[in-house]
């Protein structure tokens, strides 16, 4: 989780990712952020995030993103 928060804070230092929800639906993470985020997650966690995972539900909070990473890792 620390690692993920680090990536997110690099993108948006003004956001408190431990408490903020609706990152997608409120437009905090835009399309450019998602492209960067997906590539950094893939690199740092050594997983492939396929398009079907990129939904508002999976990216609306740091917690949700983390759970998605765990799901993908479990599918390994």
């Amino acid at each position: 989780m620390e690692e993920l928060l680090e990536i997110l804070e690099d993108l948006h230092p003004e956001i408190d990712f431990e408490t903020t929800e609706n990152l997608i639906t409120d437009g905090i993470l835009d399309s450019l952020d998602i492209v960067t985020l997906v590539s950094e997650i893939s690199e740092n966690f050594d997983i492939a995030v396929s398009a079907k995972y990129i939904t508002p539900a999976n990216f609306n909070s740091a917690q949700a993103i983390y759970e998605m990473i765990e799901t993908i890792q479990a599918e390994g």
């Binding site: 230092p13 997608i24 399309s31 450019l32 998602i34 396929s50 939904t55 508002p56």
Partner: protein
């Protein structure tokens, strides 16, 4: 002959009054409702004596905002769209420039407008509060009777290198001229279902808003957040049977680069127009494979020449590294390529893209100096007044006779479809008391805006400050603090040196 864009609305409302004109998926307006709303707003404005004035529309992208545009034009005024994604500083600079008597808001933006003290600059009103105004047919007919096709419709603001945005002001004649040729090339008809991606504060939205009125088509204003999630975005397009898009390349690229086209296909799409940036071939090919029967059209044009100037219907494959041409001008406008000495570029030679024709806008609002710099007398014609617009873009004609975009002359870049002057970002950063100097470079391969600065603030806190001061699309991806900005021997900022430094550190 159509001389006023509102004539399109008055015509179509008699043909298909109950058809959906604009929708965002949850809220929809029929042509009848759009017409009624715009006439109510126009009567309200006429009643207030607001005539031939800029009216600021500060609303979220919505069908109501579109009706507010048309209401403003019906009243003989011109709309100045601002947006809830713009920083307040930019909105204030726009208000300073246009000195509008009125700011129309929606339920979300009115709170912000008041909290920011915008009500001291102009009257702040809820758009919805104007809608119960009884229609004053006599006043509206009188306004229509006096209107000329050289009167303005809108002012939209683009990036300016000194940090002050420039307001491009366009009239009916230019917009009508553009719409006629554009809809012909895109083959728009009553079955067209547009999916609109661009914000309504740029002239790009002309492509959907007005053709919808001309043909009785339908436009879906796609919620912004969907552009961060490609599969739900394509599903949205399929749900509403969207068949025509005019998007910035970044939006198309996001869908294909994240692999969404392997999961779901845009089933109804038959016309894909794209522009504002170069489409990387790798991503373009994924789109052609996913939509083999669709027409792909590359569009090019500066806001100053009303919408798009050139088009190219993709009719062949390209070799790696070969740019997709911008083709040829739409009818009734000419592109001239001028070399530094203001003589015409020969075959294959590079020159600055200059445009002439009705499409030229009226210039920069309330800024005669900048207008005179960019809109100049055609050097080929010393005989009578005739303006050309100098785009600052460099182009050339290839072996096939197609126009190709080569580069920018200055430090203007395209990011996420937005036009950005690197100088504007730098000027805004340098305004901060903590900053001594700032330089931006643009990494075109990785689509990264990098800011180098000297000052008394750490990198992360600086980014935090910038998110409040700059539009989202201007915020640098990387921020690097330096002890001093490198200079060339003759004392200029060494941009090339910085770029080398950046590339050497890029992973």
């Amino acid at each position: 002959m159509t001389r006023n864009v509102i004539d399109y609305l008055n015509r179509i409302v008699n043909i298909c009054p109950d058809k959906t004109a604009y929708s965002d998926g949850s809220v929809s307006l029929t042509f009848r409702q759009v017409c009624d709303q715009s006439r109510a707003l126009a009567s309200f404005l006429a009643g207030k004596g607001i005539y031939k004035k800029p009216v600021v529309i500060y609303m979220q992208k919505s069908p109501a905002e579109v009706a507010a545009f048309f209401g403003t034009v019906t009243a003989g005024d011109y709309y100045v769209p601002v947006d809830d994604t713009m920083p307040f500083e930019k909105i204030r600079m726009i208000l300073d420039n246009v000195k509008s008597p009125l700011i129309l808001c929606d339920e979300k933006t009115i709170g912000d407008a008041r909290a920011q003290g915008l009500d001291k600059e102009a009257q702040v009103l809820l758009y919805s509060d104007t809608l119960d105004t009884p229609v004053d047919q006599e006043a509206l007919s009188d306004i229509r009777g006096k209107a000329l096709d050289t009167d303005p419709i809108y002012i939209v603001f683009t990036s300016g290198s000194t940090g002050t945005p420039k307001g491009v002001c366009a009239c009916h004649r230019s917009v009508i001229d553009y719409l006629e040729v554009l809809t012909d090339v895109l083959k728009i008809d009553e079955n067209t279902v547009f999916g609109s991606q661009t914000p309504l504060f740029v002239d790009a939205c002309l492509k959907e808003l007005y053709p919808t009125l001309m043909f009785g088509a339908t436009t879906y204003l796609i919620p912004r957040y969907l552009f961060a999630t490609p599969v739900p975005l394509v599903e949205y397009m399929n749900r509403y049977k969207i068949n025509t898009v005019c998007w910035v390349v970044t939006a198309l690229k996001m869908i294909s680069a994240l692999g969404a086209l392997d999961e779901v296909r845009p089933e109804y799409l038959h016309t894909i127009a794209f522009g504002s940036e170069v489409f990387p071939l790798r991503e373009f090919r994924k789109w052609r494979k996913a939509c083999p029967d669709a027409e792909f059209i590359n569009l090019y044009g500066p806001t100053e020449a009303t919408g798009m100037t050139c088009y190219y219907r993709v009719d062949r494959d390209f070799e790696d590294g070969e740019p997709i041409p911008i083709g040829k001008p739409f009818p009734n406008r000419e592109v001239l390529l001028f070399k530094e000495d203001m003589t015409l570029a020969g075959k294959g030679e590079e020159g600055e893209i200059c445009i002439r024709g009705n499409a030229l806008t009226l210039g920069y609002y309330n800024d005669p100096v900048k207008t005179r710099e960019a809109f100049v007398q055609n050097p080929l014609n010393p005989f009578y007044p005739e303006l050309i617009y100098k785009t600052g873009d460099i182009g050339r004609v290839n072996e096939r006779g197609e126009l190709v975009f080569v580069s920018r002359k200055d430090y203007q870049i395209k990011r996420n479809g937005y036009r950005i002057e690197l100088g504007e970002v730098e000027a805004n950063v340098e305004k901060l008391p903590e900053i001594t100097s700032a330089v931006c470079i643009w990494d075109n391969d990785k689509n990264r805006l990098v800011l180098y600065y000297v000052g008394n603030v750490e990198e992360r806190p600086l980014k935090k400050i910038l998110t409040e001061k700059l539009s989202d699309y201007m915020i640098p991806n990387r921020i690097v603090r330096l002890d001093k900005i490198p200079q060339t021997p003759n004392g200029k900022i060494d941009r090339a040196g910085l770029k080398k430094l950046y590339l050497s550190k890029r992973k």
